[in-house]
């Protein structure tokens, strides 16, 4: 039996503001295998960010079942969710979100430090990753001294450095120009290929969609289409559920 990196069954989420109810997810079911490079797309309000938040344990669903890295998210306390995020999930945010007071290297090693890894091992791992993704020599710069693309790479390094099972990226190229966005995608795809880490990102960007190996389109909180396209070695999927 396949152990999915992510498995959702009938996930529902409704936001409530006073008497107004806004359904964000209306029964999402999907499976994502380890090592997949998946994009979720759809118009604003289609539920992309909510889906990523729920998969990442940042938000809780109202109904349905969710397994991430073999853990049933419904059964985890907020402390256990924090631990899952720290050890098994990496996040890349739209606006980089590096801590401005830390250097690039310190930002990247932040999660390792929280995990309690010794200093020399942290440094070794970050420096190696930096050289892989074109950040060599920028270790001691503060975020304000880096370009947007470089900052987003540092954010990717921060997400990757703990060697998580899953990386969630919410519109990672939204604030980058085309060339920088393509370079970032190269980095992410390279890491996906070499480490086998599962990537799930939301996007509006057509060139990101083109690079995804599997494309999940959302519409009004439901999966409108789910298509596997690239020759990634992964099984082809029909719309809806992975084979």
């Amino acid at each position: 039996m396949t152990e999915w990196a992510v498995e959702l069954k009938g996930v529902k989420k409704t936001y409530r503001t006073g008497p107004i109810e806004v359904p964000a997810l209306r029964g999402i079911s999907l499976q994502i295998a380890p090592g997949e490079f998946v994009a979720t797309a759809g118009p604003s309000g289609s539920g992309k960010t909510t889906l990523l938040n729920i998969i990442g344990g940042l938000d809780r669903a109202d109904a349905g079942e969710m397994w991430v890295a073999g853990q049933n998210l419904q059964l985890l306390s907020s402390g256990e969710l924090a631990s899952l995020r720290l050890h098994r999930i990496g996040f890349v945010f739209q606006t980089y979100n590096l801590l401005p007071v830390l250097t690039a290297l310190e930002n990247a090693e932040f999660t390792l430090l929280l995990q309690g890894m010794p200093a020399h091992k942290r440094r070794e791992r970050v420096v190696k990753l930096f050289s892989e993704i074109g950040l060599a020599g920028l270790e001691d710069r503060r975020p304000a001294e880096l370009s947007g693309g470089q900052q987003q790479r540092v954010a990717v390094a921060r997400a990757m450095v703990t060697e998580p099972a899953l990386i969630l990226a919410d519109e990672p190229t939204a604030n980058l120009d085309s060339a920088t966005a393509i370079a970032l995608l190269d980095v992410m795809e390279h890491l996906n290929r070499t480490t086998g880490t599962t990537f799930i990102f939301s996007t509006h960007d057509p060139q990101v969609m083109e690079r995804a190996h599997r494309m999940i389109r959302l519409q009004d909180g439901q999966i409108a289409s789910d298509v596997a396209r690239a020759a990634t070695g992964l099984p082809l999927k029909a719309e809806g559920v992975a084979v």
């Binding site: 960010t49 938040n53 990442g56 940042l58 938000d59 402390g79 924090a82 631990s83 995020r85 720290l86 050890h87 990496g90 996040f91 945010f93 739209q94 606006t95 979100n97 801590l99 401005p100 007071v101 830390l102 310190e106 932040f110 999660t111 430090l113 929280l114 995990q115 309690g116 890894m117 010794p118 200093a119 921060r158 997400a159």
Partner: protein, 430 residues
């Protein structure tokens, strides 16, 4: 441990994201501490001066007198001669001697002082001039003539208010009339009890203390003259006033004397017991000062709360990211508390530097109160117009602890706010 170091590093660096804001807040808190230190130093200095002056115009730091004198003020309650010699012998021993600056036996009574022009009721103090010089401030406040000496038993020193009333000057003749003391128990052993006695004296000195009660009422004569007038023999006196090197030793010396004189019909009182009014006034002054400092610190504290809270609120998104990547609420709270404590440390350093510098100036050069009174000092001001600060190490530790504790308590609410950063709401891009 490693993550604790990370939090310390983060806190310190976060503090300097807005250097101007940090410095302004640090200066505000530092000024609060400096103000606290300076006001406490001047308060304690003023109190020390007040106590020093108060006891030297009164019964000294410690007074030994016949049992019941404090309550009755009866002229007839006298210390037996053996008590006087026992006290003097005890104060000469090796342990007590370094603590005691002066010892003055006094015979106290009331009488009527008359001149050719007028008469006035007076409080008679029979003193040994040499001893009284070591205890009382009156010998130092002579404005005319000279203080008593042992050779001239007919001399009397009076206050300038009394001199004005009697229209006398140095060398003027005055007549002192009083009632001779009775003869029972610890009272006088011989004399003309209940009979009026009078003696002719010459004004040898006039003093001005500024205290109306002293300047208009107190007269001092040599102890033998007073004893003769009152019919007291055997060296009996009303009280023995002790001036100590340090006010703080008063309870210790009083306790030792009580132990030494146990079984004798005497009372040994510290200045707090013999001049309770002075102790109460100083206590009230302390309370008022604490309230004022409390108000100042509360205002500074609210300013700091506002600053830290604003810093936390504007970093809500950042806290959301920290939480998303695995920082726990407790760690977020510690980070904010760490920032506040780092800010408090800088403020305390600034406040200590400033406060101690100002205090040093006031301790060495003093604060000249005459600058506050354009038309001269109020006539009632008895004390040295230059106020010297006295800031004890205990006060410094206390002040620093209060301010540090305040900063810690103030940081709790913003820390709680940071810890309660809600996911995923905090991650919404505005």
């Amino acid at each position: 441990m490693t993550s604790a170091l990370l939090l310390v590093k983060l806190s310190w660096r976060n503090l300097w994201r807005n250097p101007r804001g940090t410095l302004l807040t640090a200066v505000a808190l530092g000024l609060g501490l400096a103000l606290l230190l300076v006001s406490l130093g001047l308060l304690d200095g003023g109190h020390e001066q007040t106590i020093a002056d108060g006891v030297r115009f009164g019964p000294g730091h410690v007074v030994v007198q016949a049992k019941g004198y404090q309550d009755t003020n009866s002229n007839e309650l006298l210390l037996p001669a053996q008590v006087v010699s026992a006290v003097e012998a005890f104060l000469q021993n090796g342990i007590m001697q370094p603590l005691v600056k002066g010892v003055s036996p006094r015979l106290l009574a009331t009488g009527l002082l008359s001149s050719a022009a007028n008469a006035s009721g007076v409080r008679i103090m029979g003193v040994i001039p040499k001893n009284e010089r070591a205890v009382s401030l009156i010998p130092q406040r002579m404005i005319a003539g000279a203080y008593l000496n042992n050779d001239k038993l007919s001399g009397v020193v009076i206050g300038d208010d009394l001199a004005r009333k009697l229209e006398v000057k140095i060398g003027s003749k005055v007549v002192l009339m009083t009632q001779a003391l009775g003869q029972t128990g610890t009272k006088t052993t011989q004399g003309a009890g209940d009979q009026m006695q009078s003696t002719l004296l010459r004004v040898s000195g006039i003093f001005r203390t500024g205290l109306q009660a002293v300047d208009a009422n107190i007269i001092q004569v040599a102890l033998p003259a007073a004893q003769t007038l009152l019919g007291v023999t055997d060296g009996q006196v009303t009280q023995i006033a002790l001036l100590l090197e340090r006010e703080g030793d008063s309870p210790l010396v009083a306790k030792a004397l009580r132990r030494q004189l146990v079984g004798n019909p005497v009372e040994v009182l510290t200045w707090r017991e013999s001049i309770p009014m002075l102790a109460q006034i100083l206590g009230l002054d302390h309370a008022f000062n604490y309230i004022m400092n409390g108000v100042i610190l509360a205002m500074v504290g609210l300013g700091i709360l506002n600053t830290i809270l604003m810093r936390v609120l504007e970093r809500r998104y950042e806290f959301g990211v920290c939480k998303a990547i695995g920082l726990r609420p407790r760690q977020l709270a510690l980070m904010v508390i760490g920032e506040s404590l780092a800010l408090a440390t800088i403020s305390l350093a600034l406040g200590l530097a400033l406060g101690l510098s100002i205090d040093h100036y006031f301790a060495s050069s003093g604060l000249d109160l005459r600058l506050l009174f354009r038309t001269g000092l109020p006539p009632a001001l008895v004390f040295d117009p230059i106020l010297y600060s006295r800031l004890s190490p205990n006060r410094i530790v206390w002040s620093v602890s209060i301010v540090f504790m305040m900063a810690t308590i103030i940081s709790l609410y913003p820390a709680l706010k940071a810890a309660r950063t809600e996911l995923p709401d905090a991650l919404k891009v505005l």
